[in-house]
């Protein structure tokens, strides 16, 4: 009897991490759908030039401001450019900029956060006060000011959006480090003579990683909103390059006169993408959270 129970527990314990992942992922249909959707989005973005029905920057004087039809599925804008093609091409920028900036912020933020959290002391104090200063500005307003100052190339937009995100990762990783470094295994790692950098990055960092990755996915939604907002007020991607926020802005003045499709569809694209990022973030949280693991 006891052996059987023992064996059962043993079997549950040895279920590989991936098997456990797969099982829980398949159970939550909504996150699964979101994961698929994000995959689809990435594929669309990569294959964009191949799958656009018409040239996104080709004006067509014969088809100006046409309603959605079979020839132009989402209508055309005031230059006669095909909306659907423009939205598809724009998905490249709209995924790339949030992705790269989030990655950059994640790397810088977690590196500094890890060092601050582990070392503490005066360095920590100085960095945290600087972070407080950055956090005093609302993210979007800070992004506005920075882009206005350094100009709005794609590289600059990535940098600006990254800067607005860094404090979040930095604080989070610092808090995690403060907790992890007092753990038994951290002391054990020190006792057997690991150098500090090894303890921090090989032993402690992987344990902070799950929360970071969740934070990053959720932050990508925000990054996209920031990018779209900046482009909307004319600071982000400049025409004729297409970007969803910029497309909404182009359609804005025509909206009040009844040309609804110009702003509606890029807006829906933003909305859906942010929603997908959020769902993936929630899904990842459920997957990676140790409290729900094994359920």
């Amino acid at each position: 009897m006891t052996t059987e129970i023992g064996r059962a527990t043993y079997a549950a314990d040895t279920e590989t991490v991936y098997a456990s992942f797969r099982r829980r992922l398949l159970r939550n249909k909504l996150s699964l759908a979101a994961f698929c959707a994000i995959g689809l989005l990435v594929v669309i973005a990569i294959l964009a030039p191949l799958i656009v029905p018409l040239d996104p920057n080709e004006p067509d004087a014969n088809a100006v401001l046409e309603r959605p039809s079979w020839a132009h599925m989402l209508g055309t804008d005031d230059f006669g450019r095909d909306e659907l093609s423009r939205i598809i091409i724009a998905s490249r920028t709209d995924l790339l900029v949030p992705f790269v900036s989030t990655l950059l912020a994640l790397a810088i933020g977690s590196l500094i956060g890890a060092i601050c959290g582990f070392r503490g002391g005066w360095l920590d104090q100085i960095v945290m006060r600087m972070v407080d200063a950055v956090m005093a500005f609302p993210a979007f307003v800070l992004a506005m000011g920075l882009t206005a100052a350094i100009g709005s190339s794609i590289t600059n937009l990535v940098l600006v959006i990254a800067v607005t995100q860094i404090p979040a990762y930095l604080r989070q990783l610092r808090a995690e480090m403060l907790r992890e470094r007092e753990m038994e295994y951290a002391h054990a790692a020190r006792t057997i003579g690991n150098p500090t950098w090894r303890i921090v990055f090989i032993h402690l960092f992987p344990n902070c990683f799950p929360t970071l990755i969740v934070q990053a996915t959720l932050a990508m939604g925000f990054a996209l909103l920031t990018l779209a907002g900046l482009s909307y007020i004319g600071l982000g991607i400049q025409p004729p390059d297409s970007e969803w926020g910029e497309m909404v802005s182009e359609g804005a003045s025509l909206m009040v006169t009844g040309y609804w499709w110009l702003s509606l569809f890029p807006g829906i694209a933003i909305l859906m993408t942010v929603l997908i990022f959020n769902l993936v973030g929630d899904g990842l949280r459920d997957l990676l959270d140790p409290r729900t693991r094994g359920r």
Binding site: F137, P138, F140, V141, Y232
Partner: protein, 195 residues
């Protein structure tokens, strides 16, 4: 949800389709002269000076922009209160309240909501920052001559002075609001003492 987009959709639906909202061109209908400036708030001024026309018009012009901004922050707040509520409903004191046979309305809105709302109060500081940012965009969508619109216009004209002061002013206001939120804490949660 991007607030500039929500604003546009609201304009399209309520102004263009239904025609119940006024044109998104500022704070008053063009035909109405602004009320005597007392506080600078059109609604209050119109009310004080008994100018009903101006009052109605300014209220109508307020409706869509405020709705837009409200929608943009509604979702995160709702989520937060929901999460808080789920937690609170499991606590002992709520169970006790049920056990006493208190009516559902009283348990949920009286006992539970008061505590579930605390995280949302914390978030108000962040929400305010979010609103200030959204405000810049919403003002330019609705053609309000506000500070956000001013900043956006300076941005397009590459005029750095107004932008610097705008960014600093907003940051200052956010810090003040956060301070107020922290102080308001003690009202929402009697366990917290400020001292």
């Amino acid at each position: 949800m991007p607030s500039f987009w929500t604003g546009l959709i609201l304009i399209y639906v309520f102004f263009y389709l239904f025609g119940i909202a006024p044109a998104p061109l500022g704070r008053l209908d063009p035909g109405i002269s602004p009320p005597v400036p007392i506080t600078g708030l059109y609604t209050v001024d119109a009310l004080v000076s008994g100018n009903w026309h101006a009052f109605e018009s300014s209220l109508a012009h307020l409706a869509l922009p405020s709705l837009t901004l409200a929608i943009s922050v509604m979702a995160p707040l709702a989520r937060m209160v929901r999460a808080g509520m789920l937690e609170i409903l499991e606590t002992d004191y709520v169970k006790t309240a049920w056990a006493f046979g208190l009516p559902r309305r009283l348990v949920i809105y009286g006992d539970a909501l008061g505590n579930a709302i605390i995280p949302a109060v914390t978030a108000l500081g962040v929400v305010f920052g979010f609103l200030m940012a959204g405000n810049a965009v919403v003002e330019s969508v609705f053609g309000w001559p506000g500070i956000g619109n001013y900043a956006v216009k300076s941005l397009t004209m590459k005029d750095s002075g107004p932008i610097q002061s705008y960014v600093l002013l907003v940051a200052l206001m956010c810090i003040l609001v956060n301070l107020l939120v922290d102080l308001a804490y003690s009202l929402a949660d009697p366990r917290i003492r400020i001292g």
